[in-house]
Symmetry: C2
Subunit: 558 residues, 2 copies
Amino acid sequence: MAIINKEKNETLLQRAMRALHERTFFAAYPENPTPDVYGETAEQEGRMAFEAALQKPFTELWQPDPADWVGQEESPYEQQSLGITYPYFEVQTLIERGEKAFHTWRKVAPAERAALLVEALEYIKKRFFQIAYATMHTTGQSFLMSFQASGPHAADRALEAIAAGLEEQTRFPSQTEWEKPMGKYSIKLQKSWVAVPKGISVVIGCSTFPTWNTVPGMFASLVTGNPVIIKPHPKAVLPIAIIVAEVQKVLQEQNLDPTICQLAVDARECLITKELAEHPKVKLIDYTGSTAFGNYLEKLPGKTVFTEKAGVNSVILDSVTDLDKVVQNLAFSISLYSGQMCTAPQNFFIPEAGIVANGEVISYEVITQKLSEAIANLVNNPKAGPQILGAIQNTATGQRVKDAAEGHGKVLLSTCDIVNPNFTNARMCSPVLYEVTAAHKEIYNQELFGPIALIIKTKNTAESIALARELAETQGAISCAAYSTDAEIKEQIKDEMSLAGTPVSFNLTGNIYVNQNAGFSDFHVTGGNPAGNASFTNPEFVIKRFTWVGFREPAPMS
Amino acid sequence: MAIINKEKNETLLQRAMRALHERTFFAAYPENPTPDVYGETAEQEGRMAFEAALQKPFTELWQPDPADWVGQEESPYEQQSLGITYPYFEVQTLIERGEKAFHTWRKVAPAERAALLVEALEYIKKRFFQIAYATMHTTGQSFLMSFQASGPHAADRALEAIAAGLEEQTRFPSQTEWEKPMGKYSIKLQKSWVAVPKGISVVIGCSTFPTWNTVPGMFASLVTGNPVIIKPHPKAVLPIAIIVAEVQKVLQEQNLDPTICQLAVDARECLITKELAEHPKVKLIDYTGSTAFGNYLEKLPGKTVFTEKAGVNSVILDSVTDLDKVVQNLAFSISLYSGQMCTAPQNFFIPEAGIVANGEVISYEVITQKLSEAIANLVNNPKAGPQILGAIQNTATGQRVKDAAEGHGKVLLSTCDIVNPNFTNARMCSPVLYEVTAAHKEIYNQELFGPIALIIKTKNTAESIALARELAETQGAISCAAYSTDAEIKEQIKDEMSLAGTPVSFNLTGNIYVNQNAGFSDFHVTGGNPAGNASFTNPEFVIKRFTWVGFREPAPMS
């Protein structure tokens, strides 16, 4: 197989494998959409390519003979249909093609698969701007977040999965001579081992992060030799369709079956996810989405399932150095992409007696007041607000924000009309903030997806920690922010939250936020609580995709 | 913590971790029970210690206040009760003690846990002979197999699990400084990670290999910081009770809670396995035994379960160099411990046109005749037969051998009365051999535990391979033996059986058998078919026992 940039790709893979173990900062794909990195014309070309694809069938895929053409995406910024249609295939067609492709792909050596997939990322890199516009107009993310999350950050997560997959498949020798001394003679066996891929892999995407949450499972399955069927959320297809098309292009150039990686779009009237997931030939499932559907998938017999479901993320406020910096940081975390991130904070635990800030006790009321003001200032700043908030992906989320006024305790901050001057028709709402007491667990022990934050008044930090841990253990949690200047309390938070399988960010201020999650350093989702059993990218995320099988035979007499 | 042989243990751990990756021959515990290795008096002392423990309560455990004393072991050689009683505890007591011990044990560093556990193996080594007699008189294994399987081979498998567990917990840095360049400044975070153990681990043993099948899960859970409750088969307690007692002794010497490792014996009238397994505080379960119970355990929600269940092991005969050597090897494999090994071959696929042996076609009839004769010669050899066969552990197995005469096709070899001159009362039977056609799948598509072998007449090798693969995929398989001198056919067998997650031993003759399985080299059970989802010891076997949780905080300004 002639990979164009074989040597370059192998160097990058080596670097990426080292990064997995160093866990210091590493990024192969620059996150800033600047002309000096991506070229003077990249942004404009990407936008034009996005616009040119609207109101047309998407014809880039190497998947012949669709049964239909379907599409239902609409822009949260325009609240209008994108008018793009995608080829639709019966599940049986997808499975038959996947099964055939399996026997080609599994015979390609892991190192060659890895080099080919890195090559695909290089192709994808050339389309980062188009993917950014596609993401923006399906998810409602701002342009900058769309670029970063769906482009370089996703590509880094994909590279991380490829590197982890290659490392795990080459950790043990492919063959060895085993010689057992038996006294006067010895027994010699030639042994060999194969990492056998499990079979067809289905990756089920979500509507808010259509590439970032899809590529880890997709590339982890591909590098371990499994053919992949990508089932995107019907409202967010285009970003991942471009990625699938680029992977198919590389496969086709290498004279491999492009249906090693298939796109499977469903339409509202014909949802294929269950039929796909339940098919006996499907052995691996990656899923991002609701807890109910995730739990259904996890219980399917005979499947290896990786999930990222709902979680309830907590913030524990105990003591701070500079309260203004803290509330500014938290206001940003609440507002970013209108809380539509799995890492967004929701429940803020604050002791009723207030907290110590730089030696001085600040009352509970002052803290909540400052947090409300910080949010209001941020979202009402016309230069920052609309960009930080983005748009609301799903009308149900907007409705949830409105409905929250009923039964979520005392209103500290209501949503207000925010207008994005560039997209006056954008679906938007600003964060809402409610106050409840610790006793009203029925209000805060659930995910309220979107820009909804709850202040929970506790007796003290010990109660805050206990509740944060309990919620993580029972409802799941993907992130936790904690503010304390007390070393003992920090240790206690680490200990308690570690038992709830929840990572903790301490004392974040400035331009780093609890929502952010770095490839090659932060494991994403721990697998240690009900928020999901997957973790990008720890070894478990890749080794469960293949089986070690050994062969042995007496060595020829020498 | 002052481990007596800290340096020695660390050196051994380093060597063991290297062995995991070399997969050449490595054994830390010599398998020959010879005086020059274990001392002149070791055998006699071990036997006396075993005899002294009979008809008494087992009082070595550091588990106070039992609710009762129970015991139901009997020797398959004497067909008499051993008369040993063990402390019995309510499930609630076991869980409360385990939960308390959890919070001590999880705070011990992985390297210290590993050194302590290796120390325990050194203590256990001093009792190998006693364990051997205990194994012999509970399982029916011969003395030599009892010594090897329950002593050095089990200790090597335990060491392998400790080494794999330590490696996985130290593969990523425990802390690092992450610095992200942001143009004019950089963001610096101090990051740290903890491998958080999952919680109480229950290890459910079997009656035939009470230590070999128990110690991998037991030591894998312990090294990853989980407290362990060992639930042995009520008919085979003593061998593992001695091991638990030695682990408790080391824990106690290190001022650690001995109930980090508890023994939980049930009695016939009060089986505690389900209650234990279903308890919400139990997070990890290791199990060796029947498929029905294993399937029940695998479906329990909220548990990480490792199983070794039933399998149907195939032998594919295609072409050989020396048929006599082949049938001798296979006769031994069928007879060894009367087929009561999970790796014992059961289904022998032979083409109806016979096979080529050293250039000459040997008819199907001659092959089956030679195999029958080889078995008969082996078991009727008074010097070898009784030692190879051992005794039948369970009366149900003996009955199954007798009942097999009905409905298992044409009899090629019936069981005969074999007498062990040293144990005239031993429960014994010799292997039976039946002939069925490939069409009678209902006969051979199930495990017939014990010395029952079926010859299946196939159209050709292609059918043999297809059936062996299908059986492995649908019924599970732990081993496969294949004989072929044709490189293409060998490749085909490798390919097909790899897809069925079944390791293959090719062309074994002489003193190496398909039943045998070497620590640090042969993965035991692949996880790739219904015979079980565990694999000693690939990384998955240990990493599923803990969760990576990360912490981050802005680095202090420099």
